[in-house]
Subunit: 153 residues, 3 copies
């Protein structure tokens, strides 16, 4: 049975979750851009404080850290620490021929924990709340990795 096709409901669940996570990751980059424009600062590169179309009123302190910009960058780095591993392990998990219900729990569960993590991080909820969502997402990825290893051995 071909498993990596859109005729396979298990693969479809994975593809939806994986594509949503890609839009989330790329979207975080755009949130950083919006925050830099809104705060007119938080730039990373010396050349970014030059006068130009995107920077009509340049100043020296545009390279100083701005918390809202830094927060978005930290969120994006946290995405990078979790989402690519989900993409790869999720793909291998689909190839183990899992039950549809378990796949839905893992895939949509991961998307849900990352959506809640985004809410907790962007609104500066307590460390405990944010860490809880991180933990569930991380455990889903590690559980799928262990199931891939069990299948391969």
């Amino acid at each position: 049975m071909p498993e990596l096709t859109f005729q396979n409901p298990v693969f479809c669940v994975y593809a939806i979750a994986a594509a949503l996570m890609a839009l989330k990751l790329m979207g975080q980059g755009w949130i950083t851009v919006v925050q830099m424009l809104t705060n007119n600062g938080g730039f990373l590169n010396p050349e970014d404080k030059a006068k130009g179309l995107a920077n009509p009123n340049p100043s020296e302190d545009q390279l100083a850290p701005v918390e809202a910009v830094q927060r978005s960058r930290r969120m994006q780095l946290n995405d990078l620490e979790n989402i690519p591993a989900f993409w790869l392990v999720g793909l291998l998990f689909v190839l183990t021929g899992p039950a549809l219900l378990l796949t839905q729990i893992f895939m949509y569960g991961f998307v849900a924990t990352r959506a809640l993590h985004f809410w907790a991080y962007s609104t500066a909820q307590s460390h405990e709340v944010r860490a809880t969502f991180y933990t569930f997402g991380s455990l889903i990825v590690m559980a799928m990795a262990v199931m891939v290893l069990l299948k391969a051995f």
Copy 2:
């Protein structure tokens, strides 16, 4: 029809673009190494300023930031924010059975925007020029992600 094979021209286009982006990403790490050696500094770890084969003339300020080294690190982080998403979404896009021409436009278009982004970033072109190439690459990834979602639903 098996879609993930080198007999499939659409897959070949993806494989070429994905492998080139892997060489680009790994190559940026080596550019950082060359910049650290050239500038004899910009190291990250306390143990790196110890005397050794790669560091015959150690000094305390080798851990201070060096702009050329930091720039290469920022470029590599920007790669990480874009290339893994391209890898995953591009693979799922191939499985939607797209037209060869559209695949070539997306895949080689992404490679071209990242090559131009590399040129703009490494030569410190204006923010507007660099951001333009980032934008096109980001839009290609997001467009493919949306097409994957449409296929899966």
Copy 3:
């Protein structure tokens, strides 16, 4: 012949290596958590120094950098610079139909170099030792990428 199945020994070798690397990458995030708890500091976010279940004795300097925490973060970033590229290029390499022995050398070789890199980095071995393991892992990824390109052309 279907290549991305657990009946294919070459794919199994890849799946084992890829899943181990996913556990390694996710595990590094947990090492950072353990280091933050052990050192009661090295936090990234202003809200993390608030009193709470995970932080019964808050203080202002909990946001100051702590070397053990920063080291774990640098190790995770180094993982991100290497492991996702291995995942993608390794998958494409499996689809080139390689010999089992060469696959084992590349896949388990990469896992071994990253395990040794983890040892060298976490115990602060000399730059030369750490760089040697980084180099072998990087060369394996680049060699597989070149072989994918040769197959696709």
